[in-house]
């Protein structure tokens, strides 16, 4: 597909402005009524979902050109999908998120690249991750854990760690504790150590489809060779990309993919994990875009006029993962959940997605601080989430402003309740097993 293939979608825009707001039935205050970090920060219509479509339409119609300024606007977007969800309350014939992806690809095809994204792509090519870290150290986080190496052992479950978890040492205690829980529940878990690569989703979002394709093929061949029956990932980004972008590229994985929170909930329900310790805390839940609306599975393109598209063929965010983490929180004794105003399909983005974390840290911080303010407004003592990129966006925004507000991965809360003490950095020794 190309941008031109979505001309009818772009022309479909009635300019009703619904894309800029949470669905109107859910609007609960002046303060938290907006849904899009980009238009909220920059205000020109072009920064909204609808405005981006109209820039695309203008270019497709030959009325304007892709300039550096236009490319810059196209990239200042987390691709969080909130606009798409809001639009689809009323429309069956517009796939806004698809247009935003095509705009990125158009930028790359026309050489409108930005250095920060090029660095990510360069890092991917050299080291197989988006963080510029050495490929050889990708499995270092698992040092000493009794997990299988799927490069030479069969395992039922592939644990795909993802770039951020693999290299962010602050997240390692969460990660290691989670794998211990899976193992303790009897799962046959293997990881690819240094052979694991980025899922490629970030490259896709940045518009580098060829790169993304390579990583999808790499993942596909590794999964096929492993004989595994299930892929489990703690990375919400990876989860969404496996479920949506891989099939969109024609590279659907041949096994089931689950986010680790889904697996943990399953184990709790089966009695294989016991959440017994009190974790007395009033928390609010941040729905990561990639676990929520953006993880909705891919649906093949509708052939013909989308006006006639049936609802079961419309990807509107409803089939993301929303209830699983909430249910899991309910299982943790002492945890009380208080909801923010912008949740589920209309959740506000942390700011890190779509290459914004790498290229536009100021926009990322703006978005993260907005979310923290919303979390605070609930009276919660802490915010829980389940995406390493969200976690990092909040952590860095708070550090930048000298503010503090506890942000937990839901996996941390599970581990506390199980009674698993987090390892200190001294306890976690660097170095790969093999």
């Amino acid at each position: 597909m190309t941008l031109s293939d979505y001309e009818r979608d772009m022309e479909g825009c009635s300019r009703c402005a619904s894309c800029k707001w949470v669905p109107f039935n859910q609007m609960r205050s002046w303060r938290f009524a907006k849904n899009c970090p980009s238009i909220t920060r920059y205000d020109f219509h072009a920064y909204s979902g609808g405005g981006r479509m109209l820039m695309g339409l203008s270019m497709v119609k030959g009325r304007s050109e892709l300039t550096d300024e236009v490319a810059d606007i196209i990239y200042r977007c987390q691709l969080c999908g909130a606009c798409d969800t809001a639009c689809k309350v009323y429309r069956d014939d517009i796939d806004l998120s698809e247009v935003l992806l095509e705009l990125r690809t158009t930028c790359v095809e026309q050489g409108k690249l930005i250095p920060e994204h090029m660095m990510v792509i360069d890092s991917l090519k050299r080291e197989g991750n988006v963080l510029g870290e050495p490929k050889a150290e990708r499995g270092a986080w698992a040092h000493g854990l009794p997990v299988k190496n799927i490069n030479n052992e069969k395992a039922d479950v592939i644990f795909h760690t993802g770039c951020r978890y693999s290299y962010d040492r602050e997240l390692w205690p969460t990660l290691r504790g989670t794998v211990k829980l899976l193992l303790s529940a009897g799962l046959d878990v293997g990881i690819a150590f240094s052979e694991e690569s980025c899922c490629g989703g970030r490259a896709y979002e940045m518009g580098f489809r060829g790169e993304a394709q390579n990583y999808a093929e790499d993942m596909l061949s590794r999964v096929k060779a492993s004989g595994a029956k299930l892929i489990v990932t703690p990375c919400a980004d990876g989860y969404a990309h496996f479920r949506y972008i891989y099939p969109r590229m024609g590279k659907a994985l041949p096994v089931e993919v689950m986010h680790v929170s889904e697996v943990i909930l399953h184990l709790v329900k089966e009695g294989k994990l016991s959440l017994k310790n009190e974790v007395p805390m009033l928390v609010t839940w941040h729905d990561p875009c990639h676990l929520g609306r953006m993880s909705e599975p891919y649906l093949p393109e509708w052939n013909g006029d989308k006006i006639m598209r049936t609802l079961d063929r419309k990807r509107a965010g409803h089939n993301g993962v929303y209830d699983v983490p909430r249910e899991l929180l309910k299982f943790i004794p002492g945890v009380d959940l208080v909801e923010m105003e912008r949740i589920r399909e209309w959740s506000w983005c942390c700011g890190a997605g779509g290459g914004v974390y790498e290229a536009y840290p100021e926009l990322c911080t703006f978005s993260a601080l907005e979310r923290i303010e919303e979390a605070r407004s609930t009276g919660a003592e802490a915010m829980a989430t389940s995406c390493p990129w969200c976690h990092v966006a909040f952590r860095e925004a708070l550090a930048e402003t000298g503010d503090s507000f506890p942000v937990y991965d839901i996996l941390d809360l599970v581990q506390q309740s199980v009674g698993l003490s987090p390892e200190t950095s001294e306890e976690i020794q660097g170095g790969e097993r093999k």
Partner: protein, 561 residues
């Protein structure tokens, strides 16, 4: 006032003017990037086409305060540029309609400045949208009228500049009547404050003791930006007996939230159009209802089964269509009251009037739709659904006259619509979609005939202008006033309505001596010698309209007998 051809792209703004704008609002809040500007030029809604683009603005500015708006307007005066304000941009009425327009995007002026519970008004800036205003006022047991473009639209824009009625008019009247104190940047850059605001007495009254220019600032339909920029206003609030923070599950048809105590939704059916008109007039006179309107069965079909209307089998379903039409004399009443006694009274009045006129009514809880109807109307979240069935809609210009004349005129509207459906130009919604609702305590009724079409299909867009003209002709034949916005039509029909155009023009010359406001939709003269479109349907209707306008024209002494 020149339309610049199919592309509607003006020459670029000069560097000096652009630099002045940057200094006025800050460089990051001005743009002249063509692709960004086109985001303001794509305006398919309320665009009679055939192109869906309006004029591309030469620059867009984002002022943050009244002072910055003033500065921008003065710069336009200095450099001989036009300006036009835009809030949420619902429709082509908000876009530039001539060349050399600086679009003043008011998004950064979005605060709710005050909610006065005791005196029941709210003070808003332009970009505080209806959904936000409702959310905040409902917390205090108050509600505000939202125009039928819905929660995304700006209450200030509606109240000051653009029509403004909705099914909530039965309880909360319409935008023009809810406008209190106003802060107004005139087209020459002067700021004027109306009503009590102008005498330093707060926002509570638009009619004095300070200056009262409410009729001048908007008239009946509004000036669509042609009279300057409104930067703050106060709006009346009304009682809201429901919960302070209603949060339904779902977005639209999946809405789930129990009805509040003493609240109901009813649908009533009548044997014929006259019974409908008589009964609903009587019910509204008694002050019954919170939201009330006559939906068309066709409108309901476009919302509920949009796919069906595109199918060949529907076109041939003669008896099904007739059966559906039999239910067309229906009326929806949403009741929101403070007590069981009040609810009982309202229900009793309705039951009495419905029965008296041979109708029957049904509590919508029996249909399972009460919650959805109640909340989507109370929260004004339903209106953009009109885009779903075909991609775009337009309504034959809304008319405001007595309820009987509106309801009884609608068969003529349906005939026009059926004719165009038969020609294959618009979506077949059974041609019975006329919508009515009342305001002004039932003395005025509003009538719109929604026409669904696909604006991406040239065969369909070509039909819209002739359809609108045909409706205008029908309205003239019924002696209704016309919601006319094009200069040619204004010139033609001004003499039929007291030469109002001359008065508007006179006022325009005083408040806009340099002609800087983009007043194409309000006050502009037609361009002499501009060729008419070569569409035979348009030419035919132009002749018919000129003929009827000539017959109805006033003399200088007043209307003809």
């Amino acid at each position: 006032m020149k339309q610049t051809g199919p592309s509607l792209i003006s020459p670029p703004i000069g560097d000096e003017a652009y630099k002045d704008l940057e200094e006025a609002v800050g460089p990051e809040f001005v743009t002249r990037e063509p692709a960004v500007l086109d985001g303001y030029a794509w305006q398919p809604l309320w665009n009679e086409g055939p192109e869906m683009w309006v004029h591309r603005p030469i620059a867009v500015v984002l002022p943050a305060s009244t002072e910055e708006v003033q500065a921008v307007v003065k710069i336009c005066n200095k450099h001989g540029l036009k300006f036009k304000a835009i809030c949420t941009g619902w429709g082509a009425l908000a876009g530039p309609r001539c060349e050399n327009v600086v679009q003043i995007e008011l998004r950064r002026m979005d605060r709710i400045l005050e909610i006065d519970e005791k005196n029941m008004f709210v003070v808003v800036e332009p970009h505080a949208i209806g959904g936000q205003v409702m959310a905040e006022t409902m917390r205090k047991g108050l509600h505000t009228h939202i125009v039928s473009s819905g929660a995304a639209s700006s209450p200030l824009a509606s109240a000051t500049s653009c029509v403004g009625c909705a099914p909530d008019g039965t309880y909360m009247n319409w935008s023009s009547r809810n406008l209190l104190g106003v802060e107004w940047v005139l087209p020459d850059g002067e700021v004027i404050r109306l009503g009590t605001l102008g005498s330093g007495d707060g926002w509570f009254c638009g009619d004095g003791p300070g200056p009262s220019l409410r009729g001048v600032l908007r008239g009946r339909l509004g000036a669509f930006g042609g009279n300057g920029v409104f930067t703050k206003c106060a709006l009346k609030l009304y009682n809201w007996p429901g919960p302070p923070e209603p949060v339904p599950e779902g977005f639209l048809y999946d809405t789930e939230l129990e009805l509040p105590p003493h609240c109901k939704a009813y649908i009533m059916f009548f044997p014929d159009r006259k019974s409908l008109a008589d009964a609903t007039q009587a019910i509204t006179v008694e002050g019954i209802g919170y939201n009330a309107f006559k939906p068309g069965m066709g409108s309901l079909l476009t919302m509920i089964v949009p796919h069906l209307l595109h199918k060949e089998s529907w076109k041939k379903a003669k008896y099904l269509k007739k059966a559906i039409q039999a239910f067309n004399y229906q009326f929806l009443e949403v009741l929101a009251t403070d007590s069981a006694e009040e609810l009982e009274f309202q229900e009793a009045v309705m039951r009495d009037e419905v029965s008296k006129h041979g109708g029957f009514m049904m509590d919508m809880e029996h249909t399972g739709m009460a919650e959805m109807i109640f909340w989507t109307f109370v929260l004004s979240s339903n209106y953009p659904i009109f885009f779903k069935a075909a991609g775009m809609f337009i309504t034959a210009y809304g008319q405001d006259e007595s309820h009987h004349s509106m309801v009884m005129a609608s068969p003529d509207g349906e005939k026009i619509k059926q004719k165009w459906i038969d020609r294959g130009g618009i979506l077949d919604d059974n041609a019975d979609s006329g919508i009515h609702f009342m305001m002004e305590e039932s003395t005025v009724s509003h009538y719109e005939e929604p026409i669904e079409f696909d604006h991406r299909n040239p065969d369909q867009t070509r039909t819209i202008k002739p359809i609108e003209m045909e409706f205008t002709h029908m309205q003239a034949e019924h002696c209704m006033e016309s919601g006319i916005t094009s200069p040619v039509m204004r010139k033609m029909f001004g003499p039929t309505e007291g030469f109002y155009t001359k008065w508007q023009k006179g006022i325009g010359k005083i408040i806009d001596p340099r002609g800087c406001a983009d007043d194409y939709l309000y006050n502009a003269e037609p361009v002499e010698g501009e060729p008419l479109p070569d569409d035979p349907a348009i030419l035919e209707m132009t002749e018919k309209l000129a003929d009827i306008a000539t017959k109805m024209a006033w003399t200088e002494d007043g209307p003809l007998e």
